[in-house]
């Protein structure tokens, strides 16, 4: 690779990292705002204009709180736990194509940190590692409630990842590729996967909720039975890291759902917009930038949906959660594979 390309990649990775952190930071603010609005309240509005400095105030508070480690805890693992959660969460946004290609000075610049032909597998692999953070944190606290929360998190993640993987297979049967960029390109214009995979999308959506430990599947932290679940013993910024990792996971899950089902950076009438410019370079760049905006709009809508659901639905009971995962979602996902396979065969036969 040329040094210019390396430099560009370095900058791009830093930018994506920054955007991920920024969105996660302000997710905490919007979570509180949306919660307040749904409950007929106003929400944070004192720190800065419209309360926009609230995340900074929260972070400041967390940093200055006492950093407590229980006496009987496994110290090294106790400290590593939130670090793993955070590291794994920030890693997965690397393969997501946030936009198409920009043409600058005759150079093609792809708006994606690393283009790998197994992008989907990478995301799934990295996301499933996230449970190690929770598991280690829960175990190292040396607290039975934390351990119970961690076990719940682990078994829940495994159960729902199965259904998630199975729905993904249906998408891959349509696209014939594991590369996220190729999947995105195949949904050019308004040819989104959601039209072909409505059932698959619903299963994927439910599983994403379980994967990110969000309500109604936030069993690992159910405060009524488990005090705080896997992070019972955590305080100060270590707790902050866990909560922050959750918000990054929401961002990544939203990005993956937008890419797989909602056409990533594609938007309707993009070809018409491209033809409206006489200069092909300018046309391409404008379409790409609008595409980036489209991608982020989709992501924000999903993040909003995550929060909207949180303030609507009550938490599942644990046996109901497991029953939903194993007895309903996995058979439905297999049914979805069969239907998709039938559809693909039928299409080949008819056309």
């Amino acid at each position: 690779m040329e040094s210019v390309d390396l430099l560009y990649k370095g900058i791009y990775i830093l930018v994506i990292f920054g955007i991920t952190l920024l969105i996660a930071t302000y997710s905490t603010y919007f979570e509180r705002k949306i919660a307040a609005f749904i409950q007929d309240r106003v929400g944070p509005n004192r720190a800065g204009p419209a309360g926009l400095m609230q995340p900074l105030a929260d972070a400041g508070k967390l940093f200055f709180k006492e950093d407590f480690i229980p006496a009987k805890a496994n110290k090294a693992l106790f400290i590593i736990g939130p670090g793993i959660a955070m590291l794994v969460a920030t890693m997965s946004s690397a393969v997501i194509p946030f936009g198409d290609m920009l043409l600058i000075g005759g150079r093609e610049i792809y708006l994606q940190a690393i283009e790998v032909n197994i992008g989907v597998l990478y995301v799934f692999g990295v996301v499933s590692l996230g449970v190690y953070g929770l598991m280690i944190g829960g175990w190292a606290s040396n607290n039975k409630f934390s351990l119970l929360g961690a076990i719940r998190a682990a078994s829940q993640n495994i159960s729902y990842e199965l259904a998630m993987g199975l729905t993904l297979i249906a998408v891959l049967m349509l696209s014939g590729s594991l590369s996220l960029r190729e999947i995105a390109e195949q949904q050019h214009g308004f040819n989104w996967n959601i039209w072909y995979q409505p059932l698959g999308f619903i299963i994927f959506l439910v599983c994403s909720f379980a994967e990110t430990n969000r309500t109604p599947f936030d069993l690992p932290e159910s405060e009524a039975e488990l005090i705080g679940g896997y992070h019972t013993e955590y305080g100060s910024m270590k707790l902050g890291m866990y909560l922050f990792a959750e918000y990054i996971n929401i961002f990544v899950a939203s990005a993956v759902m937008s890419t797989l089902y909602f056409g990533a950076y594609n938007f309707p009438f993009m070809d018409n917009l491209r033809q409206a410019f006489t200069d092909p370079v300018l046309g391409n760049n404008v379409v790409t930038l609008v595409g980036v905006a489209a991608m982020f709009t989709k992501i924000f809508l999903f993040i909003f949906f995550f929060m909207w659901v949180r303030w609507t639905l009550p938490r599942f009971r644990y046996d109901q959660l497991m029953k939903l995962g194993w007895q309903i979602l996995i058979p439905l996902a297999i049914l979805n594979i069969i239907l998709t396979g039938g559809g693909v065969l039928l299409k080949d036969y008819l056309f």
Binding site: I38, T312, L313
Partner: protein, 169 residues
């Protein structure tokens, strides 16, 4: 068993329909309800900037009134203390000496006058009992929160209406 009232209802447990079992329509309905609240008017009162409006007959912090010449109206008759169901009011009476006519309206006056805000139930019986229209519960002031118990015993220094600067000579 004979029904005790005619309000008994025969309930039957119906088999759930597919839409009910699928759970998603109910979720969509719930989401609809919460998003409606998203756009509703907020009930919050933005406290330091806005204050909640109180009724005209709302009873707040006590005040000991002065008359039009700036003299204290209270004659330490003790009717308010008698009327007080919570026994929050105590006072000691004194005799006005020569040269204090501008301070006290009548010959007798309250040397000390204390209201224990921890006991007071803000019933307003003291202002009804007062024959001299001296004590009132203000409709715009709260008895503020404090840290120490003895700070809740309000003496004359905090009860007597301050002199209006235009009326002092």
């Amino acid at each position: 068993m004979e029904p005790l009232s005619n309000r008994r209802k025969q309930l039957e447990k119906k088999e759930m329909t597919f839409a009910e079992r699928a759970y998603l329509p109910a979720i969509a309905q719930g989401l609809g309800i919460t998003i409606k609240h998203f756009f509703k008017k907020k009930a919050t009162v933005q406290y330091p900037e806005q204050t909640r409006e109180r009724s005209d007959v709302w009873r707040g912090l006590h005040v000991l009134k002065r008359d039009e010449n700036g003299a204290e109206r209270c004659t330490a008759c003790g009717l308010c203390a008698v009327a007080c169901p919570a026994e929050a009011i105590t006072m000691t009476a004194g005799e006005r000496v020569k040269g204090e006519e501008h301070l006290y309206r009548e010959e007798k006056y309250a040397v000390t006058y204390e209201v224990n805000m921890l006991r007071c139930i803000f019933c307003g019986l003291c202002e009804e009992a007062c024959p001299k229209a001296a004590i009132f519960l203000q409709d715009d002031k709260l008895a503020p929160a404090r840290y120490e118990r003895d700070e809740f015993i309000y003496g004359k220094d905090r009860l007597v209406e301050p002199l209006k600067t235009t009326e002092t000579k």
